[in-house]
């Protein structure tokens, strides 16, 4: 990464990116007024910033952000583990896949956020419905990718291992597991953004905690800056999760051709 930052072309692009951010903020601050758009439709950047500072002290913004972030992370991790397990099981047992695939497909097509009200009925205004929606929504991209990866393994590689007298467990740890990692991480990237959606929908449906609650509260009060601040905080949670995954992925998948070329 160090060598990349010292590259003049990269530096130019970073400066460009930074300039674009300044232009964006300027347009946001003065653009709506110039076009006669009222502040309750699009509040200028400075108003949103003021609201952010107010919410920090008055509305326990960090508490609500923390609650949402916790639900996102717990749902994400559990959904990830579940997706991986089921992906491997189905990948290794064609019978299980054949029997289960219609049901899994049906569940995959069903819009997961629609389950939020049901989970609220089951578990009340607690953290559980939100985590459950996140698990459900994270599960599929991970499972599908792991399943696909196990399927795509060249049978001759497994035969090679078997000719060396490898056990089933050895074939799993030395071939199937590492081979599934690149698609697994691709699934994690997709799931990271979905997890936030799942939790927010859960919070919108019911409860008095989390950023989703602040969203409905801001809407009810006609407080547009508050809605803006909340959307930004949700985005920040998503970016942090996504960034963490990319960071781990770069360490784990350092052997992928594209990465190796960039590093050398």
């Amino acid at each position: 990464m160090g060598s990349e930052l010292s590259n003049p072309a990269t530096q130019r692009m970073m400066i460009g990116s930074f300039l674009l951010a300044i232009v964006f903020l300027a347009v946001w601050e003065w653009g709506p007024a110039a076009f006669g758009i009222p502040q309750f439709i699009i509040p200028p950047a400075s108003k949103v910033w003021d609201e952010f500072l107010r919410m920090l002290t008055r509305d326990r913004l960090m508490f609500h952000t923390g609650i949402t972030a916790m639900q996102v992370v717990v749902g994400f991790v559990l959904g990830m583990i579940l997706g991986m397990l089921v992906g491997f099981l189905l990948g290794m047992s064609p019978t299980a896949e054949f029997v289960l695939s219609p049901y899994i497909l049906a569940l995959q097509i069903a819009p997961k956020v629609a389950f939020a009200p049901l989970f609220v009925i089951w578990f009340g205004y607690t953290v559980y419905p939100k985590i459950l929606v996140a698990i459900l929504i994270v599960f599929f991209p991970i499972m599908i990718n792991v399943l696909g990866a196990v399927r795509a393994i060249d049978p001759d590689i497994v035969r090679l291992a078997r000719s060396f007298n490898a056990s089933k467990l050895q074939i799993f740890w030395k071939i199937e597991f590492p081979a599934s990692l690149p698609p697994f991480f691709a699934g994690l990237r997709i799931a990271a953004t979905l997890a936030v959606i799942g939790v927010v929908v859960g919070e919108l449906v019911g409860g008095n905690q989390g950023l989703g609650y602040l969203l409905t509260f801001g809407e009810g009060a006609g407080n547009t800056p508050m809605v803006f601040v909340t959307i930004i905080m949700l985005t920040v949670i998503g970016i942090l999760l996504y960034g963490a995954i990319v960071l781990i992925e770069n360490r784990v998948l350092h052997w992928l051709p594209g990465r190796a070329r960039r590093a050398s």
Binding site: D154, D156, R159, A161, S163, K174, W255, P257, A260
Partner: protein, 261 residues
């Protein structure tokens, strides 16, 4: 008389029919041959004559329907440590370095890490890849990858090497270089090998004997003893004036150029 390393006794392999009511497909029928210690034997024949089936039976992945495949005097019924195979695909694992790939078989067999490493580095030197031990497969050319695959095959120190067209995916020149490497390595290590190929010159250049198989159901129709000196030097053998007549004999046995297209 040298010890027999690989032997087929009346080996037949049938596959279940694709559709119900059809007769099973007989891939190979009544195969009989012996390969002595240190011998390199090529197996040549038309496409689909069951050459690869024979290698699968030899490696124990797919047992024979009738008859016996014997390696080192033991009947092959499952994968065993006397045999190692090498395919046209290098089958290197992309997440392992070349050294770790060479160690793969030893690792599965539970050989201690330090011992594995020493074996792998020694073989990489022998296969002329000593500077690539810590590279990943994608950083190597096709020829180098196939040499790494050879090192991985030799690492488990098999009594018999089964090779299924290992060089057929390589360009003509790389192929000659690798044949030379293989010829030298096999001579140095004194390994026994059964070498399946489509390339008539390769068969003559590399082996002591050539077995010619018929169309399916494959059976051995001819055995040719290659009487050209220098099996450890395939390049010279290619240039030998004796090679031409052998090729001509193989071509007529396989009816090459006789069909009307």
């Amino acid at each position: 008389m040298k010890t027999i390393r690989l032997e087929c006794r009346n080996v037949t392999k049938r596959f279940a029919a694709q559709r119900k009511g059809e007769a099973p497909i007989v891939a190979v029928q009544n195969l009989n041959f012996k390969i002595a210690d240190g011998e390199v034997v090529s197996l040549i024949g038309p496409s689909g004559c069951g050459k690869s089936t024979l290698l699968n039976m030899g490696s124990g992945l797919d047992p024979a329907s009738d008859g016996e495949v014997m390696v080192d005097g033991e009947k092959v019924i499952k994968p065993n440590e006397h045999v190692a195979f090498m395919l046209q695909k290098d089958l290197l694992l992309p997440w392992r370095t070349i050294r770790q790939n060479v160690e793969f078989g030893l690792e599965i067999r539970g050989v201690p890490a330090s011992e594995r490493k020493a074996t792998a580095l020694g073989l990489l030197k022998k296969c002329r890849l000593p500077d690539f031990a810590d590279h990943y497969p994608h950083q190597l050319s096709g020829g180098m990858r196939q040499r790494a695959a050879l090192a991985r095959t030799l690492a488990v120190d098999p009594a018999v090497l089964l090779m299924d067209e290992p060089f057929s995916a390589l360009d003509a020149q790389t192929k000659m270089v690798l044949q030379q490497d293989l010829g030298r390595t096999l001579a140095e290590t004194g390994k026994t090998a059964l070498f399946v190929t489509h390339d008539l010159v390769e068969a003559i250049a590399l082996s002591d004997r050539v077995l010619v198989m018929s169309q399916r159901p494959g059976t051995i129709i001819e055995e040719i003893v290659v009487d050209i000196p220098g099996r450890d030097n395939p390049m010279e053998r290619r240039k030998s004036p004796k090679t031409g007549p052998y090729i001509a004999q193989l071509m007529s046995l396989l009816h090459i150029g006789e069909e009307v297209h």
